[in-house]
Symmetry: C2
Subunit: 287 residues, 2 copies
């Protein structure tokens, strides 16, 4: 199944990501509609031609016309929304999401969802440190990865459609992972890094440091401006994998600490060489 | 004392930083000479008009003509160089450096150095993840900070000259710190961040992660490609302040870990809000 121009697309939740999806799809000629909480987001999206129509209501007709529904909501709101309004979906509709954690929601949703619609999970690994549809920008997809997260319940047609959505949005790379692998990977690559950046800002209150800061500190703490509401929810929903990654990090950090304390220069150099070699693997993708 | 166009400048160590100093000073019309280990660096620098002359020898005449001598060497080589060749300096010469640690070298050097020359320490907080004069680029100074690190033995004239050098090189901000404050600050802002990036790469060997990496991970590990020879020396030379900063980081990280483990969402959110507020202070300087 491919995305077709005559497909009717509904986006639920017009924030930074939902808005950026709308922008990319509308630019590519799709018919895009939206349901979101605030009228001002609708007004902005209409004015900037991100959507064809939008409402703050649960509009049964609008939902019932959609062939593809993209949810860009916080996880707990997303699940509740499906429970409350699942009856309005068009038979055969494909539902996808942007949620940053998977195991804790995918199985539950696939369990309770109507059997004549299909939920295929996806994680667009793109973002900014600002929020809201006013900051929507589909260029954030260009260098980013889009991960389709199927389970054994998904059909090849829906998986293909979801991959095609990722490509259509302009993502640099589209790949597939199981929910468990996704969550382990995200615990390391994304959540642990946010824990570290947060910790780095919390552990010292040197006032006036701004004058002396180099690029390395700025880079490490760019993500320390963090949406506490969203990230605390994501951390808790992925608690076990994240605690495991935090444990691994603590052990390695303690190892470096001990080497430094003992004046073990060769041991430190060995860690640095491992670090340098592993980091080089990530270079090829940089553009 | 200001930098004057008729001053003769000698750079010892034509690597990335030494080469970038040469580039900036030559472009601004100064007479720049160099002493460095390899002839190929001299050849490159001459060919690209970064210097007026250069040699791999300890050229007593060249050293004896210099009004300002900039050392861009590893700390232990720098100190030894001064011990071996200090007799060649011109009386009244001002000596400065680019070393990333200060307490461990400044006092010692000011103690043994001839009394008719003056060492004023400086730390240009600029760099790249590549090495050598071939990568010299004076644009790295534009958004960066230059810190002059005087002691009670320094004259106001030499401090002024050193500040003027920072401005002339094109640094965004020129400031002053005591050696002790400098080392504490650098332990937190620079060395701790390098410890963290190294640890993050060492703590997990998920192969194939490149496909799933988002910007946050790339940003946090950019500096994980680390010159193990240089950084292990810098860490050991600043061992006590760095161990203190690592301790603070560990305590805060453990705090976050415990909050996550206990499901203390409000506690996590509080740390995230502190992080967000503190990080915002660093924004003003971003351009």
């Amino acid at each position: 199944m491919k995305l077709e121009k005559n497909m009717n697309i509904l986006i639920v939740g017009l924030g930074l990501l939902g808005g950026s999806y709308a922008m990319a799809l509308k630019r590519r000629g799709f018919s895009v509609h939206a349901i979101t909480r605030s009228q001002s987001s609708i007004d902005y999206a209409l004015e900037h031609e991100l959507i064809d129509s939008g409402t703050t209501e649960i509009d049964a007709k609008l939902i019932g016309r959609a062939d593809l529904v993209v949810f860009a909501l916080y996880p707990h709101i997303f699940t509740q929304w499906l429970k409350d309004n699942g009856q309005y979906f068009k038979p055969g509709a494909v539902i996808t999401d942007v949620t940053g954690v998977k195991s804790c929601i995918v199985y539950e949703i696939q369990e309770f969802l109507r059997k004549d619609v299909e939920f295929i999970a996806a994680h667009p690994m793109a973002g900014k440190e600002v929020y809201g549809v006013e900051n929507a920008d589909d260029r954030i997809f260009r260098k980013a990865n889009y991960i389709v997260v199927p389970t054994s319940k998904n059909t090849s047609g829906a998986i293909e459609l979801c991959r095609d959505l990722g490509k259509t949005l302009g993502f640099h790379d589209v790949s597939e992972l199981s929910p468990e692998m996704h969550d382990e990977m995200i615990a390391y690559l994304s959540q642990l890094t946010h824990c570290i950046a947060t910790t780095l800002m919390c552990c010292n209150d040197f006032r006036g440091l701004e004058h002396y800061t180099g690029d390395s500190f700025r880079d490490l703490t760019r993500i320390a401006k963090i949406n506490d509401d969203m990230w605390s929810e994501l951390f808790l929903l992925n608690r076990e994998p994240l605690l495991r990654e935090m444990d691994k990090f603590r052990r390695s950090f303690d190892e470096l600490y001990t080497k430094l304390k003992n004046g073990d220069r060769e041991g430190m150099r060995e860690m640095m060489r491992t670090s340098t070699a592993r980091r080089a693997r990530f270079d090829k993708k940089e553009k």
